[in-house]
Amino acid sequence: MNLLFDFTADKATATIYITREFAADLDLVWDAFTKAEILDLWMGPKPWRVQTKEMDFQIGGRWLYAMISPENVAPTRYSLAEFVEIQPKSSFTTKNSFADENGDPINSGFTFSMTKNSFKAEGEKTTVQIVKKMASFAELEQFIAMGYKEGMAMVMRNLDEYLRSVAPNK
């Protein structure tokens, strides 16, 4: 099935717009975005996975989770999503930042972003719109520069795997 995927960025306002269709009804898609046991199944960019430490889905509540590497190294950095707005089965907004294992803020060179997820039922399908507003792209650039080395190391590991798969005789 061909499912819509749209990704645009407005640099002037440091906002990213993503629209994606899913071949499931609204109830199921809503659960997939708001229940920890389902989020853990799909949020990790492979070969990493997401592990929830805390989830309290209510206004003022929070989701504390970490990215776990394939080597299963204990995480030092956690991601924090604080729920600032919830309209059941319609939309929710999170304030996203980095934290330590207790959910206390850490100095990562990155303050926070705001993410609004909106859900719309369309027959058999559900459309999700994600609007992610960063504090500024200048801050994001600084953050990228910091994470660049770490990112490269991860890409190198993925590359090893990839090269083995495309050149099995070498």
Binding site: L3, F5, F7, A9, K11, I16, I18, R20, F22, A23, A24, L28, V29, D31, A32, I38, L41, W42, M43, G44, P45, K46, F137, L140, E141, I144, A145, Y148, G151, M152, V155, M156, L159, Y162, L163, V166, A167, P168, N169, K170
Partner: protein, 106 residues
């Protein structure tokens, strides 16, 4: 022709080329040796990466070396392209999860 940077990163071979030459400048032949594809196909990937202004060419004697324009790699576009790729893969994983959940409900 100026291409969309998303196009550069969308292909796994091109991502692998970027990572290879991030370590050191390489000739097209040296790059091609890492892949089980034709030299012609590598040339096409190098051309697309050059058109995205991610690669610089340097002549040394008779050899042409390709190197990464590292300034360009730090740009916001590259981060956005990677973020887009992560979101795309994430949603494909979610498609599978939704499919499994739908089937267990029945």
């Amino acid at each position: 022709m100026r291409r969309d940077i998303f196009q550069a990163i969308a292909d796994p071979t091109r991502r692998a080329i970027l990572v290879l030459i991030a370590m050191q400048a390489m000739t097209p032949n040296a790059i091609a040796e890492h892949f089980d594809v034709t030299r012609q196909s590598i040339s096409k990937h190098l051309r697309i990466l050059s058109e995205c202004e991610l690669l610089a060419q340097r002549q040394e004697g008779r050899e042409i070396f390709y190197e990464l324009k590292i300034d360009k790699m730090n740009e916001i576009d590259v981060w956005l392209a990677q973020f887009r790729k992560i979101m795309e893969e994430r949603f494909q994983q979610l498609d599978q999860v939704l499919n499994t959940l739908k089937n267990t409900k029945k």
